[in-house]
Symmetry: C2
Subunit: 251 residues, 2 copies
Amino acid sequence: MFYLVGIGLKPEHLTLEAQNILKECSEIYLERYTSQYSEGSFEFLEALLGRKVILTDRHEVENEFGKKLQKAKSGNVALLVFGNALTATTHIQLLLDCRKFKVPFSFIPGISLTNFIALSGLQEYKFGRSVTIVQPEANYSPDSFYDFIKENQKLGLHSLCFLDIKQEKKKLLSIKEALGILEVIEGKRKDSLLKKSVLVGIAGAGSSKMQIKAGSVNDLKRFSFNSFPQALIICGSLSEKEREALNALSV
Amino acid sequence: MFYLVGIGLKPEHLTLEAQNILKECSEIYLERYTSQYSEGSFEFLEALLGRKVILTDRHEVENEFGKKLQKAKSGNVALLVFGNALTATTHIQLLLDCRKFKVPFSFIPGISLTNFIALSGLQEYKFGRSVTIVQPEANYSPDSFYDFIKENQKLGLHSLCFLDIKQEKKKLLSIKEALGILEVIEGKRKDSLLKKSVLVGIAGAGSSKMQIKAGSVNDLKRFSFNSFPQALIICGSLSEKEREALNALSV
């Protein structure tokens, strides 16, 4: 069996289900190019499982995982992913490959950032589509995420913005950097969405250093977010109850 | 400390964090009016924790939980909620009460239905706002959820529909019943959103009986969904990759 396992945002987010399954696996891989822990370490995860965990990279998962999937025909092989799995297209492709090559598979869900957004006091059903804010590169500066945020706002909905890994692939994008990227787009378009909106920054979800800060662009720029991963919410219209909860639950 | 703990959709969804915390609690309550397990039982949960769990109802959580929160000033008290917590307004209110009465609290996330939607093959970032399909009552038949689904569709987005508990409060709404409710609204409005859309039914998320079925209204009506909780996705526009994944991953 091939197990695609979401491991959450810290080692303690492991579910009983994941622990039980990993005990039965002959090979356990961890991909860490899409995110990282908010607290705890790879070494602690290994100690917790009492098992060796093999690190794998994007290239291997996207191009060379077929051999591992073949092994899952006779044995148990697991791929661990931070947060919940299947958000990245690559991971869906692995399941499609399993179907194609008749490899049995099982999806094991994990705690993700989306499980924390209501802790801000914002109502979950008032979130529109999520977007990812991408760091512009020399020949590639997408800004479709800005259009999606605008569409959400027209409907009065909040936008959860995931923050991408920077192009060098070594650093997660920060809230401050994401605000800078949005301001550049906004400047080009002569728009004022950011200035008019209440924003919420979430840093280190699930860790003891978790921070939820609500305020204006300048409030968030001045605030010291000092843990990762980070995410940004751009609020749509706020009900009275949401305002009350946002004030009470964020710093 | 007051712990608001999401316990997921089956006992094995308990995280290490939740298990460790519950060991230190003098009183553990479980509210079960918003959902239920897809697999496993209350008794199994108690055995797993090795602790007594006290059942509580909506009235108590909404009106009389203040005394329990006061106890959390000196001891550790936990309220367990199926899935993730904080989706229901009542649970946010408990945290606001904690702030007001200076009771320290901690939010412990749990696996919820939203952690499973991408297993259908649909891309997570193509979901618009979520809605809850409500069973109409004699003097109360809301249909705003239909408007929200239409808005999502205009943007090409998928709609995740949670299915409410029926008015008698004893039975979770089924996919078939939800389709019936949507058809009545559609008939009144002379609309044809359902007929034109690809639909996905998800039953018993996380359990060994989990079913994901994609198709037309009639396909879903004919299909035997035999586990709970159930949910319905009304697809917006589908990319070629999504069609391929939907075909491969659903029955």
